[in-house]
Symmetry: D2
Subunit: 337 residues, 4 copies
């Protein structure tokens, strides 16, 4: 932590800050320039971060030097984390496709889709039982019945299941049925939920919030890991910008950056990023090319009848074509699929 004092900060102000910093057990390193005095804090960073340094008289700006995340950091663990979900490995050189409908609608639908996406080569099944919807008047998901249906679809196909958990109070229930617990974009900073899933061993998939920085995404993962659960998968799903032709703006650079900053695997969700099915194929190819460890794809036999997000779902034949493209290209990029 560096504290930059204002032009003309007095000696008293500088000394006052130094005294305070020392009183909590940190040391300082003072550098007096022509215009500015700069005070570096040495010692326990976490303690330094808690001090409201910019509230001190004479302070212009506080600049953090060390990153706020630890356990998720590439500095802390150099080799890639490989999250095991049953036989599936997520991370490293693998490229996985998790596919399925936005919402679980019925047993027949789910089992049919599961069989289809498995046949096409998907490695995981996705589908929402608890649905976060911006309107109270929209379909809110089947709840526990949806979880049971997901488990039946797993039975029928052997595909592991990822599904969203929306509330700390539901984690135990969802963990009974799901193979991966998904934290949705709107809950990325629901810290009680993050703490709760941190107390399980079950893999957790954290979607980046609509306006979350890359650092905040990594801090969400830090919450889970600091609770004791090392099995964290990240997911870039688009951020909110001024552009309106797409629902969100897929931040493809975030994938490459996360891989530099962290050892955790990162997936891309082109369906939610774009909000329209006709961008899923090019964005999936871009995801693979940029180095993502996989994609989440919405698939529906009949998007016109989907109870949620039909506009961003692929039909079976389009999904088949996409899987063919991914396999062909994956070979060039050295990906195991």
């Amino acid at each position: 932590m560096m504290v930059i004092m204002r032009d003309g900060a007095t000696d008293e102000e500088v000394q006052h800050l130094i005294d305070k910093v020392k009183s909590v057990g940190l040391d300082v390193h003072v550098s007096r320039g022509e215009f500015k005095t700069i005070i570096g804090l040495l010692g326990d960073t976490a303690k330094a971060r808690e001090l409201p340094l910019s509230a001190f008289p004479g302070v212009e700006k506080v600049v953090p030097i060390l990153k706020p995340f630890k356990l998720v950091s590439r500095d802390f663990k150099e080799e890639d984390t490989i999250v095991k979900v049953g036989d599936l490995s997520i991370g490293g050189n693998s490229f996985i496709v998790a596919a399925g409908p936005c919402a679980v609608e019925s047993k027949d639908q789910m089992v049919e889709i599961a069989k289809m996406v498995k046949k096409a080569g998907a490695g995981m099944l996705r589908g929402g039982a608890f649905k976060p919807r911006s309107s109270p008047y929209s379909f809110q998901g089947l709840g526990e019945d949806g979880l049971k249906i997901l488990a039946e679809a797993r039975e029928a196909t052997g595909l592991p299941v990822v599904t969203e958990v929306m509330d700390a109070g539901d984690v135990e229930l969802v963990a009974e049925y799901a193979d991966v617990l998904q934290i949705g974009a709107r809950n990325m900073q629901n810290f009680l939920l993050l703490k709760e899933v941190g107390m399980y061993e079950k893999p957790v998939l954290i979607k980046r919030g609509l306006s979350a920085t890359i650092e905040e995404l990594l801090m969400a993962a830090e919450y889970v890991m600091s609770g004791g659960n090392p099995n964290v998968i990240l997911c870039e799903r688009g951020i909110r910008t001024f552009e309106t032709y797409t629902r969100n703006t897929l931040d493809i650079s975030a994938v490459a950056l996360v891989k530099m900053l962290s050892h955790l695997p990162i997936l891309v969700d082109p369906s939610h990023a774009a909000g329209r099915w006709d961008l899923i194929e090019p964005l999936s190819m871009a995801a693979m090319a940029v180095g993502a460890h996989g994609v989440l794809i919405e698939v529906h036999p009949n998007p016109e009848d989907a109870l949620s997000d039909g506009a961003q779902s692929l039909k079976y034949n389009k999904f088949d074509l996409l899987m063919d493209e991914l396999k062909k290209t994956g070979a060039v990029f050295g990906k195991e699929m």
Copy 2:
């Protein structure tokens, strides 16, 4: 809902969409232009919204005509809602100031601050017992002990208390102690939490999410009202933009717009919007001038020692001056304080 077909959409595509719309009990109104065919949907809007119309072949764009919110709408209820919190009225011509520290730190601190802000003219006490913090290593609040302290500060001063509830499972507990339940910006789309507070009568203060549109803020309020709780207060607290001189960008226009679109009261939180104490005074004046029903202000006897957000807290003497300014100006704007 209007559906705009692509140039060259076929008659079959148009008919297919019409058939589908009619099959769910809605009627249509078709308008064929030189280039485009436009299909208007007549009847139950909620039903129309649930159809994934942009997934249909030949569709270019779907344009909602009616607003998605109902109960919160000025069309639904013309006169201003006045939310009563004890003797305090929020809404209409009143301008209220809720003041206090970011986090509850101790009983002595809280009672002292409560007495001070009351003396200066504040109408409500704020302070966090459960704190959403982006780092798991930061102070997370005193929890239930903090709630008890808030209740004691109310005892000592008569000021009603607003405090955050972060989880659906905590609503009952927080409601026991608080006079107003605050939904924080990061939880604005925690729909289970919104549903839960909708089942109480206790007033609810909803802060706008960092990247929430005005419409999404109103939909969050719709969740609470549709659950049966009409006592909703909104709060503009800044949105996330590219500007870095302030922590967030206070969207002052949102206040005026919410007052046109809705009958609910709306406050402004200049402390969180700016993230720096030296903007609180000018932003509070702007909030009053634009028509807000009040402000939330962070006050701390010694910001340098604050356990949370000290940089954006006012000292007592600054708060006194702010209250003087607000009273003087409130008289011109016809505000009851």
Copy 3:
């Protein structure tokens, strides 16, 4: 300028950077922490800024310490700059209203509007002769004929005229007719244009770009001032965000910040910020309350017939009411109008 080296940067990397910095005549101050080495650059800041320090091996981050602007800075000149436009003073305690149509349409229109806004109390006349339009098929302004009409309206009323200049090659022409040269938001970083107006004495009004930071706005002013023209007026007119209920998001905090950082006057343009007439009144009041030195208001006798931006123009009677409000409130805020 502080250079933060990566964890594990080698001594050679540190030395290499130091050698380079010294070779251009700057001195350094090295601080070795437990994890990081930090190198402070001492001496001519402008020279330090030109070094591509983050391209050096072992560098993690480069942190500017000094602000990049000088002449516009409050540190450089403490007292408020008052820009004189004829008898009008902009800056300090004055609050001026510049009013008029978006585009000059005809002599009769312009003279009529000028008389009306003068009567209502406006201090300056605005109107575009050269219009930046996002479509090549839209009305592009009357050009030099428009400038002549503006001069005639000034003749008829005595009101000084502010109008946009869009191109370095047009500055001489526009300066012949206008009292204040306006640099539009889309040209805020048209550096040749900024340099050109810097070579005149004529006051320059710089509108903040749609995605310009406050620092970039001040740097645009620095371009003009460094050319020798001290008569610069700034204008906040909304930034582009994800919110769609308003055309732009008025960044009201920017006004207060600019007043801290700079001695230059700053106005607010609520018409362009909101893009809708029904927000002009509340946003104008907020502008005054936050400390702006004035507002730019679009006024049109018949917005339905306006050739540009009718939706955000006030009719005469609404403008009269707004002026009354501003005068009444200005008295409380100690503004000279």
Copy 4:
């Protein structure tokens, strides 16, 4: 254009709007729903767009139905435009790499870089003679001397040259030396400049503005094409968002969308998007995978000495590796390089 009237708009308001629309020669189509009346405008769209319809009493919202661009539209010209630059073809199945330093620094430097990038397989040379810099104290480019050097580098290698023109008054000069005229991001809505380059036959490369929508980018191209110049190349170079780990956020979806909406070729500039060299490789691969027609890459023999943007420039050996990757992958994607 559809006009949606407010709930409770009166018959007079509806009739008033219809009369006005008819008076300019357009026809209307009125649809009265339970709550809302909707008026569709039939006939010349450009005329309809010029009417300030939202200024009319009783109007709630105006919804454009047709896209504002014509000549650039895929509807207007179905097959891909191939822009010829000497022997080079940009568009269709080709993938071109334009490489070179941010700024032209000297003849020796430029000729050396040109030879190197040609050897590695680049098809075009980039380099700035006129540099838009946010500080007046930064290196502003060599101007005409820089143009001459670029021409010499072309002589020496046969590589065509792309360079920025910043001002309408400079177009003739730059066109004398350059093969492609670049419109920089900050000038994307410098409409006089767009009009000027529209009067030449020389290919024009338009970079997307920092906060320009995809539609605005296409409208910039429409300006050039409507002036008579069909040789337009677009370029996605990142947009401004809240994320700070990258200088801008590369909007990779924009590439796929532009290819749907328009027949024009589109390149990607990963150097400016990321602002850091270590993201250039993954972003270039993503650009190819998503379907871009090429990339612009900053290359410098010694980024530490670059006069501009050294931090985002590749060294020779890294550029060689990138070209190898692109060639290998291009084969899979069926790209001609």
